[in-house]
């Protein structure tokens, strides 16, 4: 019967060993009081204190108690586990107690060094020792095992840190997967001009590394991808990476970006052509649409435009779910409704518009009278370009070709109100009229 087994079978007998660490601990904490306190704790059989617990004589004290059967679990109240946890675990296992039945209470870094008042320090040390005793009773003996490890490495994030880690690991012969959410690696550093504190050129550091990543045979770059889930454990992780759609032959792509500008599904209405089941739509909205449709019995195609105009008027844009429903209801292919008709006519928008739509006339009469400069002023005041919406969703700025007030040029229409003979200096006032203090609730 081994010592370990024997110890297991018996009731827990906890030995508490308090270290003075010279005057490091004893100079602040009342050791005698700690001893008295520890002796009263449940399951504690032995309490000893010593000048340097980590020294050979100190270690021998613990081993003697174990060998004498006085102790089968060890609490050492001393320095940080970073310092000596391995020392005391070895002490225990050499004497025949499973190394995991050892617990440390850090009364130096956490208490004596950092607490001003000696009484406070003593009280805190008691609490830590008490906790360690309670805990060690619950420890289970563990065995060390060797398992196979997958040596490949996954680096998440292609900023400068990720890039550097990937390169170092790859150099040391590891296969590295570098995952980056954006279409390109580089991260924040790519946006900086200089680095602190040496004021080196950021791009000069970053760019060669980015190129190395691409060329390194050990690195597989997964850009425009995101980690969906991580399963498994150290050495045997199972990671799911979702690569975002690109439908581009990466070998041939030069990254010119032309396709992103022209992509018809940019507005995220991807058409499943003819849905079998009725697309979901809020009940109230559905009955509203049904009522509108009543007027167009048997003339589905003719109903399309008026209906879209009505929806656009109601919501200030064409919400996706309504478009889906309308296409299904009128039995018109979604691509017709959404992608063709909605993008052909200027009044429709597939993106939400702001609370107020500013329509500035760019008709000939207004143009001749300087509406171009007015438009630039509006863009500057609102901080957006024509066709965009302010970030607080208050204004959308659109240019229209004539609102029929040519004799009053230049003219602007905000929602339903038309303003005549508008001069630049009137614009701030006009905007204020439509701005709610404290922003808009949406």
């Amino acid at each position: 019967m081994s010592a370990g087994n024997m110890n297991l079978n018996g009731r827990p007998r906890v030995g508490v060993y308090i270290c003075h660490c010279g005057i490091n601990i004893a100079g602040k904490i009342e050791i005698a009081e700690l001893v008295k306190f520890a002796e009263k704790l449940p399951d504690v059989t032995v309490v000893r204190d010593y000048k340097f617990m980590c020294s050979d004589p100190g270690q021998n004290i613990i081993q003697a108690d174990i060998r004498n059967g006085l102790v089968n679990r060890v609490v050492v109240a001393s320095c940080s586990p970073l310092m000596h946890e391995s020392t005391f675990r070895r002490v225990s296992s050499d004497a025949g107690v499973n190394q995991f039945l050892t617990q440390m209470a850090n009364i130096r870094e956490h208490v004596s060094w950092v607490t001003a008042d000696s009484q406070d320090a003593t009280a805190k040390a008691k609490a830590l020792i008490g906790a360690a005793v309670h805990r060690v009773v619950l420890h289970k003996p563990l065995e060390k095992k060797t398992v196979p490890v997958h040596p490949d490495v996954l680096v998440v994030g292609g900023g400068i840190a990720g890039i550097h880690a990937a390169l170092t690991l790859a150099e040391s012969g590891k296969k590295v997967y570098l995952v980056e959410r954006e279409p390109s690696i580089g991260g924040h550093m790519a946006q900086f001009d200089k680095t602190f504190p040496t004021l080196d050129c950021a791009a000069c550091i970053l760019t060669p590394k980015m190129t190395q990543v691409r060329l390194h045979p050990n690195i597989e770059l997964l850009s425009y991808s995101e980690v969906d889930s991580v399963d498994g454990y150290i050495g045997n992780f199972d990671v799911k990476v979702r690569r975002k759609a690109r439908f581009v032959n990466e070998d041939k792509c030069t990254g010119c970006g032309e396709c992103t500008v022209n992509c018809p599904v940019h507005n995220r209405i991807a058409p499943p052509e003819h849905p079998e089941v009725e697309p979901h739509l809020d009940h109230e909205v559905k009955s509203w649409l049904t009522n509108l449709l009543e007027q167009y019995k048997g003339r589905a195609r003719e109903a399309l435009l008026p209906l879209m105009i009505e929806v656009n008027r109601q919501y200030r844009y064409l919400p996706r779910d309504i478009i889906h429903y309308m296409a299904w209801r009128l039995d018109i292919p979604l691509s017709d409704v959404a992608l063709q008709v909605a993008t052909f006519y200027n009044v429709f928008s597939l993106k939400p518009r702001g609370l107020h739509t500013i329509r500035i006339c760019m008709g000939t009469a207004c143009f001749v009278k300087g509406s171009g400069r007015l438009l630039e002023r509006l863009e500057r005041e609102l901080g957006i370009k024509t066709g965009e919406t302010t970030s607080n969703l208050n204004f959308t700025l659109e240019a229209v070709r004539c609102i029929g007030c040519c004799a009053l040029a230049p003219a602007i229409r905000i929602d339903g109100d038309t303003y005549a003979h508008v001069r630049q200096d009137r614009i701030p006032r006009l905007l204020r009229k439509y701005t709610v203090e404290g922003g808009v609730k949406v």
Partner: protein, 637 residues
């Protein structure tokens, strides 16, 4: 309430007359979109309130737009037995004062009056309604008579006959002005063929742009076998700078409806559509109200005026696409598809809406029908010139003094339009060019100022009648920039179906942009000319076919401006940002701080009462200082 007999029509007329010429004071506010934008709503509210406060025995009513937009808001005061006096540029304050003076019998504020009317001439019947019982009192006589007022003197109003006079939402007032007499005559006394003959005899040409003979068009559709047939009113008015169709729909919607019923009866159609562009919400509203009333009075719908003829009209809202004004594009749009034009023939008269024979005409064309039918084709031909009979409406806008709508006989000279009616150029600048025909038209130079305006002359000069936009430009306009502007428009509005138009307009725009940025290359002008001619010849529809016109006409008449941009890198119109700079004339600047406060980049330095200065490299050329300076001290060169 349906009118089925002459007596019924007579009753409605009498009722309309009572509200047009009531036995007490009547104050009328012009409330079309332009009036409202100028503040007519507030004026109307102030009048109502003050009349109530002062317990004045008066009615306050609304009318449409008489077309003198420069003077909006306009208010008419009509007291029994006295001439009608029209006041311009009304404010709520002035309106209140007006009521106070009326209630205190102090006489009108004649100094604010712009013209007076002694009698209304009803165009359809030719009758006169005398307003002033005898010779008007002294104060009244000092106010210019409307028929002698420079803005109205040369006008002849057929299409705009009721605009600004009647309440657009009152069918009775329309009837009091001779409305539905023509329809009565057509349904009861004429055959469809006779009606068609009358229109042919009048030589009426489509007012939508191309000027095709309306009688001929009706005949094609009338003779085409196939049922049902449709008639359409094109109120898409895509021409930027033209707004007469809007004004007619907002001021006199019944005139269009009556014309459509007559046309439908002649052609044999029972369903009509009116396609109105999205930017005209008020026109749509008034049109819908008019349709409801017409149905109620039996001038639309089943058994019109007690006859066996049935005709319904639906309003279709456009959704903002210029090319939908083209007839085949418009038809496609009503059908619920993309408003892309298609190859003609077959013409709409053969295969139009839903593949059926369809007749499509412009708002002004329809509004001209009733007077022709009642008074006869030969009456119509007496106005205008040979081959170009009748009148048309121009929207006279841009840098002229009097902006507004003017209806004139065809054949009038540009000089009369711009200098007599328009009153010359604003701020005494020099006249440089006039643009007609919208994006399909061209720019005519000052040297053509005596050109008579008709379909052929304009086309020969490289422009077009179009739907009647007439945009006047002064010396501060850059003709290359204008050409660029129109190309931006057409390349944007090109539906993309045919290549010459889709790609060609883009390339022209590119070159023009380059030139206006001072990056023009030698040979660009010739290249443009070449490209323009190819596009003109090979495009599918009128949009592409006419899109090069602004370029061709400016190349033709303003070649030196192209040269100045390309060779000297100079913009004679002082418009092109890259080629100009702003400064302040220290002689003229009294140091009022106005511009300094407006400058977004703090490019202007100076203090009160000391002439200001612009720091060149800070200036972003936004023009804010130019806009606010009251002393003409900001120099652009």
């Amino acid at each position: 309430m349906k009118i089925t007999t002459m007596q019924g029509l007579e009753d409605a007329r009498a009722q309309g007359e009572r509200s047009l010429y009531p036995a007490r004071t009547k104050i009328t506010v012009g409330m079309a979109t332009c009036g409202i934008a100028s503040g007519a709503g507030a004026v109307y509210a102030a009048l109502i309130e003050e009349v109530k406060n002062k317990r004045l025995d008066a009615t306050v009513t609304r009318a449409g737009c008489i077309g003198y937009c420069q003077q909006e808001p306009l208010v008419d005061v009509l007291q029994p037995g006295l001439p009608r006096i029209t006041f311009g540029q009304m404010t709520p304050k002035k309106a209140r004062e007006l009521v106070v003076r009326l209630s205190e019998k102090k006489g009108l504020p004649f100094e604010d009056a712009i013209y007076r009317t002694d009698e209304d001439k009803i165009l359809i019947t030719g009758q006169e309604v005398r307003l002033a019982a005898e010779r008007a009192a002294n104060g009244y006589r000092k106010v210019t008579l409307i028929r002698e007022h420079p803005y109205f003197k040369k006008q002849k109003r057929i299409i705009l006959r009721n605009c600004g006079l009647i309440d657009p939402e009152s069918i009775e007032e329309y009837i009091a002005c001779g409305g539905y007499r023509a329809l009565w005559k057509a349904l009861k006394e004429m055959t469809p063929i006779r009606i068609n003959e009358e229109i042919k005899k009048a030589g009426l040409r489509g007012r939508g742009g191309a000027g095709f003979l309306t009688g001929k068009k009706w005949e094609l559709c009338r003779l085409e076998p196939g049922e049902p047939k449709y008639v359409i009113c094109n109120a898409d008015e895509g021409d930027p700078g033209a707004f007469m169709d809007r004004s007619v729909l907002e001021s006199d919607p019944f005139s269009v409806l009556e014309g459509m019923v007559i046309g439908a009866f002649s052609i044999g159609s029972h369903q009509g559509y009116i396609y109105v562009r999205a930017e005209y919400p008020l026109a749509i509203e008034r049109l819908r109200a008019a349709i409801d009333q017409a149905e109620e009075y039996g001038t639309l719908g089943k058994n019109i005026l007690g006859s066996s003829f049935t005709f319904n009209v639906r309003v279709v809202e456009g959704a903002g696409a210029f090319v939908c004004g083209e007839e085949t594009g418009l038809i496609a749009s009503i059908e619920g598809s993309l408003g892309e034009p298609r190859q003609r023939p077959p013409y709409p008269a053969q295969k139009g809406l839903w593949g059926c024979p369809t007749n499509i005409n412009n708002v002004k064309t329809w509004a001209s029908v009733a007077p022709i039918i009642f008074r006869g084709g030969s009456w119509f031909v007496a106005t205008g010139t040979e081959g170009n009979p009748g009148t048309t409406v121009f929207s006279l806008v841009g840098k002229v003094r009097n902006n507004g709508l003017a209806e004139v006989p065809l054949g009038i000279r540009l000089r009369e339009m711009i200098f007599d009616i328009g009153g010359g150029i604003q701020d005494d600048r020099a006249f440089k060019a006039v643009q007609t025909g919208g994006p399909s038209g061209g720019c005519l130079p000052a040297s053509l100022i005596d050109l008579p305006v008709d379909y052929e002359r304009l086309a020969d000069a490289g422009s077009m009648m179009g739907s009647g936009g007439m945009i006047v430009m002064d010396e501060d306009t850059c003709m290359v920039d204008i050409a660029r502007y129109f190309l931006e428009f057409t390349s944007d509005e090109s539906c993309g179906k045919c290549t010459p138009c889709r790609e060609g307009t883009k390339r022209m725009l590119q070159i023009l942009t380059r030139i206006t940025r001072g990056k023009g290359r030698p040979g660009d002008a010739e290249y443009l000319q070449n490209l323009a001619e190819v596009i003109k010849e090979t495009s599918l529809c009128g949009l592409g076919g006419t899109a090069p016109n602004p370029v061709l006409s400016t190349l033709r008449y303003f070649h030196d401006e192209y040269e100045a941009h390309i060779v000297d890198k100079r913009c004679p119109g002082r418009v092109c940002k890259e080629l100009i700079s702003y400064s302040i004339d220290p002689e003229k600047c009294p140091g009022c701080l106005a511009c300094l406060k407006q400058c977004p980049t703090e490019a202007i330095i100076g203090e009160a009462k000391v002439a200001h200065r612009i720091i060149g490299n800070k200036c972003i050329k936004c023009g804010a200082c130019l806009d606010v300076c009251n002393y003409n001290a900001v120099i652009v060169e």
